[in-house]
Point group: C2
Chain length 663, copies 2
């Protein structure tokens, strides 16, 4: 008997390989990713099927071994910097989260290049590349998160010795959360308030040695530890650090943007544009988009494959049938999963476009033209917020759609969710970040009012004064791209108009945003849905002829289900009429049926290997029950013969009862 997933795959004539080329940009890129993955999986250290059964300490050790081995493999194969980075992305795909060393090769390297002068870089970059120096990025404190201005760690200049003294003056000033701080890093880029002759110059960066390079012992005055178990990131040693008057050379201050002279004089370096700093944060946010899409794609792959295998209940339309239905045949299951599959496509394809846009922006900034930054800012903030929420909430929906087995760590879903959840909080907490989107949109609107000009990506803002000309549409009209772009635009413009009016009656823009922060949140999402719907439609338009029809189904489903979920906002803006909803839902139900035969092929298109999915439920061959049973055999509890229940429960209670009855 052939497996149920093979039967599923025969239902669609679309090639999953062609879909992979669309999702991963080209045939050659797909093949390169596969080649790099093979370099890793050949080594037994990457055999990670037992990872789910290790303690946190053991997981960290294993992840550290893997990261070390990946670095050695890259070295032995003379991989380019770009391919080495890809290799680490693939490794991250295996283990669900970056290893602590990725914080070294990623964030620490980036900060070294960004905050320190060329001369300073020359001193440390070589050490860092040879792994004599391993760095972390120590910003947040126990009592201070995203408001950098509130940080308490101090760096006092000591002219007598030409040193800074790094000190944690309070409990809340302790560094807390930085990855790689607890056990990995021997250096840190530490954010601290600069004190010169008693005056506070605000927060600056300092290169501080944390551990001895040879013995790996903490430097005197530095207290290091682990912040304890957390959701996700169990491969990473998030740590705390308390400084007790630790001295560092003056030249360890990051001196690209500002410097302190031997005499203790503060000097701003006005040659370096602040945009470069902002752009780095913007790039980081942009890199989240595609990651969100792929995380949701993983969950969709696991859940849709399992739903194609799992049988439950009988078909009321066919009462004589004795065979149970596959759960993928139920409308509720389709309604829960296919819009998420469509969202995974929408976000991944938009991520491709954003990655290209990010390179283009970098070029413009190099050429001294920061004019596109405000659009990039709005887009990166809005997309980071919306796509991280769609992905996190969507992965949990997938998990619930797997029933009881979705609770098992071996399904892969709990760890996947745990590792992605940080996306809604890190790099700008979503509710805070939305205020940035709103601020940028208000700025663009303000410039338009003043000059009549709009950036090319924002031309539709010119329609803000025009009343909605909406007329009820036919069922067929509700399946055309123009309709969606129009209604998502109208919804956004209505929200923008509302915020502009509210802010106008406030004492300042800042106060207007703070006092209407929920409006900002909704505005940001209204704008970003427009971006996603438009970009998805563009990507489909550019896709290969073979894949276009099925991608169009996904695009329509994405737009209509997102519209349905917040239908009230569309109606309030006057662009959708309450009595259109039955037609819209009819279309959705039709689309679910049309997508059904392609569902497994569509998830195959993401081209995740079984090694990357590491899921008992998501296996390509569909042998989920064998996998569940075999995986459970790795649990240490199944290799222990202690009799806890007998000794800790039954005998004590029986003794108690016996002693009492003897009285």
């Amino acid at each position: 008997m052939s497996s149920p997933l093979e039967a599923e795959r025969r239902k669609s004539r679309v090639s999953s390989r062609e879909l992979a080329y669309v999702l991963h940009q080209s045939k050659s890129h797909v093949e390169k990713l596969e080649r790099l993955e093979q370099l890793l999986v050949q080594d037994p250290v990457f055999n990670h099927e037992k990872m789910y059964y290790l303690t946190r300490g053991e997981q960290y050790k294993r992840a550290t071994q893997m990261a070390g081995k990946a670095e050695i493999i890259a070295h032995r194969n003379n991989l380019s910097e770009e391919d080495t980075a890809l290799l680490h992305v693939i490794l991250q795909g295996f283990t669900g989260c970056p290893s602590s060393t990725a914080l070294h090769t990623g964030m620490f390297f980036k900060n070294l290049g960004l905050l320190f002068t060329n001369k300073q870089q020359a001193k440390w970059m070589q050490m860092a590349k040879q792994w004599r120096m391993v760095g972390c990025y120590a910003q947040t404190e126990l009592g201070h998160g995203s408001n950098v201005r509130g940080l308490e760690t101090i760096a006092t200049y000591i002219p007598a010795t030409d040193e800074f003294e790094i000190h944690s003056p309070t409990l809340t000033s302790m560094k807390w959360w930085p990855g790689a701080l607890a056990r990995t890093a021997n250096f840190g880029v530490v954010y601290a308030r600069l004190l010169l002759g008693g005056k506070d110059y605000g927060v600056h960066n300092f290169m501080v040695q944390l551990r001895d390079l040879e013995s790996h012992d903490a430097i005197p005055g530095v207290t290091l530890g682990d912040i304890g178990p957390k959701i996700g990131f169990n491969n990473v040693d998030n740590g705390y650090c308390k400084f007790n008057r630790v001295r560092i050379p003056r030249l360890n201050m990051g001196m690209k943007f500002a410097a302190v002279t031997r005499e203790g004089k503060y000097m701003k370096n006005s040659d370096v544009p602040q945009e470069v700093l902002y752009f780095t944060m913007l790039q980081t946010r942009m890199s989240y988009i595609r990651s969100s899409g792929l995380a949701l794609a993983k969950a969709s792959t696991i859940t849709i494959r399992y739903s194609g295998v799992r049988q439950q209940g009988y078909d009321a339309n066919n009462p004589d049938s004795k065979e149970e239905l596959r759960v993928l045949d139920y409308q509720t299951q389709q309604y829960r999963l296919f819009p998420l599959l469509a969202a995974a496509y929408a976000i991944t394809l938009t991520g491709n476009q954003v990655d290209a846009y990010s390179l283009q922006l970098a070029d413009q900034i190099k050429q001294g033209d920061p004019s596109m930054l405000v659009v990039g800012h709005a887009m990166s903030c809005g997309l980071k917020v919306l796509t991280s929420e769609i992905a996190c909430n969507g992965i949990e929906t997938c998990r619930r759609a797997c029933g009881g087995h979705g609770f098992l760590v071996s399904s892969g879903l709990p760890v996947l969710l745990g590792d992605i959840l940080q996306m809604v909080t890190a790099e700008g907490e979503n509710f805070v970040l939305c205020q940035q989107t709103a601020r940028a949109l208000l700025k663009i609107h303000g410039q338009y009012q003043a000059s009549g000009r709009l950036p090319s990506a924002m031309q539709f803002i010119a329609n803000i004064g025009k009343p909605s000309r909406a007329q009820p549409r036919s069922k067929q009209q509700w399946l055309t791209l123009d309709t969606y772009v129009d209604v998502f635009q109208q919804r956004f413009l209505h929200s923008l108009r509302g915020l502009v009016d509210k802010v106008a009656s406030e004492p300042s823009i800042a106060a207007g945003i703070q006092n209407n922060s929920m409006h900002c949140y909704k505005l940001s999402n209204a704008y970003t849905f427009l971006v996603l719907v438009s970009n998805f439609a563009e990507s489909v338009h550019a896709a290969s002829a073979e894949t276009q029809p099925v991608l169009q189904l996904l695009c329509k489903l994405f737009a209509l289900t997102q519209l349905e979920a917040t239908a009230g906002e569309f109606m309030e803006s006057g662009c959708v009429f309450p009595n259109e909803m039955p037609i819209i839902r009819d279309n959705i139900e039709d689309l679910l049926k049309l997508i059904r035969p392609h569902a497994v092929t569509l998830v195959d298109g993401f081209n995740f290997s079984d090694h990357t999915l590491n899921s008992t439920l998501g296996r390509y061959d569909g042998n989920v029950y064998e996998a569940l049973y075999e995986s459970a055999q790795h649990d240490p509890l199944n290799h222990s013969s202690d009799k806890v229940a007998l000794h800790e429960l039954l005998r004590p209670i029986r003794d108690e009862i016996a002693s009492k009855s003897r009285l």
Copy 2:
């Protein structure tokens, strides 16, 4: 300097003690709960601050010790059965989830009473009460969840020896998930297909011994194991069990509803009404409601207290202020948290009413009157689905509203969420269970069409034919109870009318429900929101004069924010107009400001002890940063001096680089 939470408490004149009496039914009940909690916390085994740092095996051991000690304490203090049950509920509050032994005293006892004859009960109940027998309830199988008809385990009658042979014929027939099966239970109530002379009589229950009563070793033919790590329930040994032709006496079959004679003849016992079986499931679902409310209340307590302590960012309305704002002062934080606080009140108070209703129903059924079962069915299914989703999604919202520290297990939120998540899946998966609500509502509507009669709790269905008479309302009218009950009713009736029409065009009701299962889901929630809003309003009306005004604010906020979240459905039903939304939102924003000064007092009203919350962020005294740091000291990683990074990462890479450069 007094703590920020003391300052918060001084802002409200409402007594949190009075609120506790409302939420927990009476002053005397509150005092009893406090007395029972004191019985436990005096014993050091219940000191659980290190629980978050234990492995799963260690947690199980600790929870088992606690459960044993609680039983002994109950015994020594001669607690009544009711108070013993309360003691276990309090213990469950400490550890977040029931221990495996709660499955013995709860589900196993219940099944013993329900499925077995008095004679059978007499044989086992004494053993079970003396803890010589410890039971579990073995229904689900590796390949089979909520569809009991699909179970594969077989029980073949062997006339020669007057025995049944229990057998697992396939991999997928292995029992999988039952709590207490892996390490605790020595007996199980096993669901298996009854085979008599080759004929399959469907699924019945059998009392099967799993382990030796003295040695606790598995009985020959029984293979037992742990199903591996999972989300939540880390105190419970969810297990698997494979039967290899295990013989049990014929009289171990549960013979209350059907029996097998010595000759192998099958006999239905028609004296016992099936309603009793259904009612037990209904009672279990009803017991979920209050638990959901209290779980959400715990998360609200932790998050609102922490938000009253945590400072972040500066006040744009007061640009000269140097002090950072408390995050509870931000509109987005209030918008996220206060509706959940209101929902916690709504669900807990509705839970009180449901618990009373459940006792009333039990009485009616005892008196042979099952007429109210259909209303109880609709209500229990609908409330289980909606309240479990509000609670689970709400706890995650609370966790996100705690920023980075909400990821720490020591915050209490990850474990709280993990343990409550099963509520959306267990006792009827929510999307499946909604079809039950819809079926019951269709039945009630059908009876109304046939007879013109409606149950008293469903009188409003008589309005189904009447057109909506809605007129746009003023801001003030949107703050009156009648308005809410009316619009929630209209939304529900519109949805019911729609489903009735759709089902009418289908070949059968079953097919109509299956083919419109998303409609059923929405109908169930529309009905249940009406129940929640009406019941909340009733509870507020009955509350003490001192607490009424602030409870009214919560009730209004609950209704208006739930309306806003699904505004499209209300507009589609014609009872809310798109241009009313700005007024509704104004009211919401006003309510948030009015509730703000009472927020900490309102969570204090739930009366959770610090011992029960077990949260670094939720402490009554607000000393969160000391607690975070101290808690992290329990992590075993902070008591280990191995140098993983040096040995597994730095030296291997440095050696590799050195060896290559020597070439």
